[in-house]
Subunit: 147 residues, 2 copies
DNA sequence: GTCTCTGCAAAGTTTTTGCATGCAA
DNA sequence: TTGCATGCAAAAACTTTGCAGAGAC
């Protein structure tokens, strides 16, 4: 039966989890691999992927599929949503958004195509502070080109 | 300058768009390619990808990055959200959800990490009717194993 | 005739997997 | 000692791109 395997606490798994929890940047697997290599130079990308999958299935971390081409990972599994910068792809956190239902209970599935709803994710799109600054700076020079 | 090119109305582009609009299954590029080949046997997957990108940039169709590993596409660009089946990966539509804010206006960016918000997507997760049926059937035999 | 689009194929990117060995428990 | 996990590398899955010829306008 699935789920009855004995999980082992290897240094690789610990480093992957520790590094992910240290980062607030929602890194990709490859980015996390680079960080992990600083502590375990021989760790392989395959191992990083395998541990990320295990930790995701355990519910220890969260996988963000919705933020672009590659998956990103979040060591913070408390309730929150994400913003993705449409310019640079950075991902930030969104918490306690005013005006949003803290919990949505959907009992009428007739408008859900018969799906049984397990949960939802709110995914914002926007422009991060750094790209806003860059845009503001560019706007100062853009008027001449607009005509 | 970008955007000044004259778009041509090729049969390939028409077929890609027509097939996508016929389907409500939010197909992947490869799935759409299979459908398109029935009308244009020599169409290439690269052409399908290129046209999907063009149509997306034009705003004629919608690309769904948020529903799994591969991108899916939606020929219906009216306002609606999506449900993804966590079992089989199918994607359904969600419309006029009661209790949801039809439009969210977020002016206080302090809780958004300084991001300028452009929009949002609501992404549901659930179990589709087919997988529910399969689960119900399986539950009848699962009691013995639970103990 | 011009210039975008196409088919084909190669290559790029991201993720998974096979296998022999390593190591946590 | 047992068997899950690792490193390495090949492969799979998905998407993009270069190029010469085709075809829309």
């Amino acid at each position: 039966m699935a789920g009855t395997f004995q999980r082992r606490n290897t240094p690789q798994r610990k480093v992957v989890l520790d590094e992910l929890r240290k980062l607030t940047s929602h890194p990709t697997a490859v980015e996390l691999y680079e960080f992990a290599r600083r502590q375990l130079p021989k760790i392989s990308l395959g191992t990083v992927y395998r541990n990320l999958e295990i930790l995701t299935l355990e519910g220890t971390i969260r996988r963000l599929d919705s933020v672009g081409a590659e998956a990103r990972f979040d060591g913070d599994i408390t309730e929150h949503h994400h913003v993705r910068c449409v310019r640079c792809g950075a991902v930030g956190d969104v918490r306690g958004l005013p005006g949003l239902p803290g919990e949505m209970t959907v009992t009428d599935t007739s408008q859900l195509g018969g799906y049984e709803i397990l949960g939802y994710r709110l995914q914002f799109e926007g422009i991060c502070p750094l790209c806003r600054d860059a845009q503001d700076a560019a706007d100062g020079n853009a008027d001449a080109e607009a005509g």
